[in-house]
């Protein structure tokens, strides 16, 4: 039986010629990742094993969730990570001022790339599937064990093929593609499976779209999401990731347990209503929903192109008087490029708050917590009850174009409503 992209990468890293769905395998991992919340417990588990780190160049520690530290306890967590980095001479560590949101930073720095197996103690580690690698989220114990052994166990996943056709129209982003897909399959529609994106439509998705889509594979319950390597991937990796990588392709007779077809040309801007990412609705098909806050950023939509899209809409317009709009570039490099391109000036002129990179508000950490009864349109990835603050607050997930338009009009809106 033929193999999917995911199955081929896993087989190679398990040192076997072929795998089948359901096989239990032990793989060599190429990169292991943790952040300031998940690394401290991983370090505690690592110490119980009593071995040195397997490879100081294959561990990435990215303190991005509660940094710059929001309180004394979170400063203590960051210190545990910093001390560990010094003790074990970990190469890929990023201090405040250099750090970015992990899933924006690692691809940007060429630390993850095509064909790699990456595990991360963060559920959105699946982002790197955009580059044609296998990457998935694990917990701190798995991570601690991998730091000592360089290995992780997996059950080989079955796959859902997402066949993309048509060209992405103007005002549609990767977020609209993914929220539409999650609306179709549900938040557990891809449970234990990989989402394999294929078809001629892939070519009309830029790398930013692909990162956003792969990032939210977990929101469909998936183990990973993966794109084929094409000319755009190769152009992105040029000068960033070492040459000689393998562009893994699925076999012609690869088995998919389900195929989902999406015609990109028919998509419209969407939002996901509280309190699940599957509650997808087309903007304009519901009545006025007034909002109090907008967040533009995160590992889902904190890249330069996301900021360009938002800045394009904010140009010459202002944030609605009743709205706080918080813009968070995903990395220092994104921040710098956005500044050079004039986007930051546009945001500040429009009345947005611009923050240093942090996960902050996405998980209700800090930098934009909601009060009871408040509503936020957010380019982040989860709208669970209480995710961004009070248990009686509401998060509506959207792409950067809908978020910017909503910030201007003070209600959930499509970009065409402000132009």
């Amino acid at each position: 039986m033929g193999m999917t992209m995911t199955q081929k990468i896993l087989a190679k890293h398990a040192g076997v010629p072929a795998v089948e769905p359901g096989d239990l395998i032990i793989c060599n991992v190429d990169m292991v990742l943790a952040n300031d919340i998940t690394a401290p417990p991983a370090i505690a588990e690592f110490k119980k094993i009593g071995r040195p780190v397997f490879d100081k160049t294959k561990i990435a520690l990215v303190p991005d969730h509660f940094t710059p530290n929001k309180d004394i306890k979170s400063a203590g967590l960051a210190k545990i990570v910093r001390d560990f980095v010094k003790e074990h001479a970990i190469v890929h560590y990023f201090e405040v001022g250099r750090v970015g949101i992990e899933h924006v930073l690692l691809p940007e720095q060429g630390i993850v790339g095509p064909g790699m197996v990456t595990i991360g103690a963060d559920s959105h580690t699946c982002t790197y599937g955009a580059l044609g690698g296998f990457s998935t989220g694990v917990g701190s114990t798995d991570l601690g064990v991998a730091m000592a052994t360089g290995k992780a166990w997996f059950k080989v996943p079955d796959a859902i093929q997402v066949r993309l056709t048509g060209e992405k129209p103007e005002d549609i982003t990767g977020k609209d593609v993914m929220l539409t897909l999650i609306g179709m399959i549900g938040v557990d529609g891809a449970l234990y499976k990989s989402l394999e994106f294929t078809g001629p439509g892939v070519a009309s998705l830029d790398m930013t779209d692909r990162f956003t889509i792969a990032n939210m594979a977990i929101e469909g319950g998936a183990k990973n999401g993966i794109f084929p390597v094409d000319e755009q991937t190769m152009a992105y990796e040029k000068g960033r990731f070492p040459d000689g990588y393998e562009a893994v392709t699925a076999d012609d007779d690869a088995h998919y347990c389900r195929t989902v077809d999406i015609d990109l040309s028919k998509l419209q801007p969407v939002v996901a209503f509280p309190h699940l990412p599957e509650n997808t609705k087309v903007v304009g098909t519901f009545g006025d929903i007034k909002i109090n806050q907008v967040v533009i950023g995160s590992c889902t939509n904190g890249r330069l192109e996301d900021l360009r899209i938002a800045a394009d809409i904010f140009k010459g317009r202002s944030v609605h008087p009743d709205v706080r709009c918080i813009v968070i570039p995903g990395s220092q490099s994104v921040y710098m490029e956005a500044m050079k391109a004039g986007y930051i000036e546009t945001f500040i002129t429009a009345g947005c708050a611009v923050s240093t990179p942090t996960c902050g508000p996405c998980l209700g950490g800090y930098m934009g917590i909601l009060a009871a009864g408040e509503r936020c349109v957010s380019t982040t990835n989860r709208n669970f009850r209480g995710r961004m603050g009070h248990v009686d607050s509401e998060v509506y997930l959207a792409g950067p174009q809908v978020a910017a338009a909503s910030a201007i009009l003070g209600k959930i809106a499509a970009p065409k409503e402000v132009r």
Binding site: I37, K73, G137, G139, D188, G221, G364
Partner: protein
């Protein structure tokens, strides 16, 4: 080992943000995490849960974030096993890795109600609802995952086994 306990019943898509909200993730002390467990959907849980009580959920239990703090908070609350229709995959792995048994029984879970007393035989994967008399058979854990669970978690397993050598 046979467990017996009173059921705390929750629904579908219980996410790790409600199991332990991120505002409490500035600590990874199990007791402190347990003191906030489930607070956003059930303020009575942390205060009233008794050691040996059993948690029962619907589909996709533990979806969302990879925070291992979630199964740790539940385990430190005194819950010795979770029964659900299905589990989200990272939570499932994490629960086994930290030595918290998880049993999947599909839609049959619908007949277990809050406050029922259930018996669980962990070796056999059998569940008896003492209140209704219903019996259930959980799907067995695959291959060496059984050994990880039997060792009480991944660290014990790694220290004792050769699989990761």
């Amino acid at each position: 080992m046979v467990l017996e306990g009173k059921v705390w019943r929750y629904g579908d898509n219980i996410d790790t943000d409600v199991i332990i909200p991120a505002r409490y993730l500035n600590s990874f002390d199990p007791k402190e995490l347990a003191s906030h467990c489930m607070v956003d959907i059930d303020e009575t849980f942390a205060e009233n849960v008794q050691k040996g009580d059993i948690m029962v959920g619907g589909h996709n239990f533990g979806c969302g974030s990879s925070r291992e703090h979630a199964p740790i908070a539940i385990k430190a609350s005194g819950i010795p096993v979770i029964i659900a229709a299905s589990f989200a995959r990272i939570f499932y792995r994490n629960a086994i890795n930290v030595g918290l048994p998880v049993l999947e029984i599909g839609d049959a879970v619908n007949s277990i109600k809050a406050g029922d007393v259930v018996n669980v035989d962990l070796e056999k994967g059998t569940i008896v609802d003492q209140t209704t008399g219903d019996t259930f058979q959980a799907r067995p854990l695959p291959g060496f995952v059984q050994d990880i669970a039997a060792a009480g978690g991944l660290i014990n397993y790694i220290k004792g086994a050769k699989a990761h050598e």
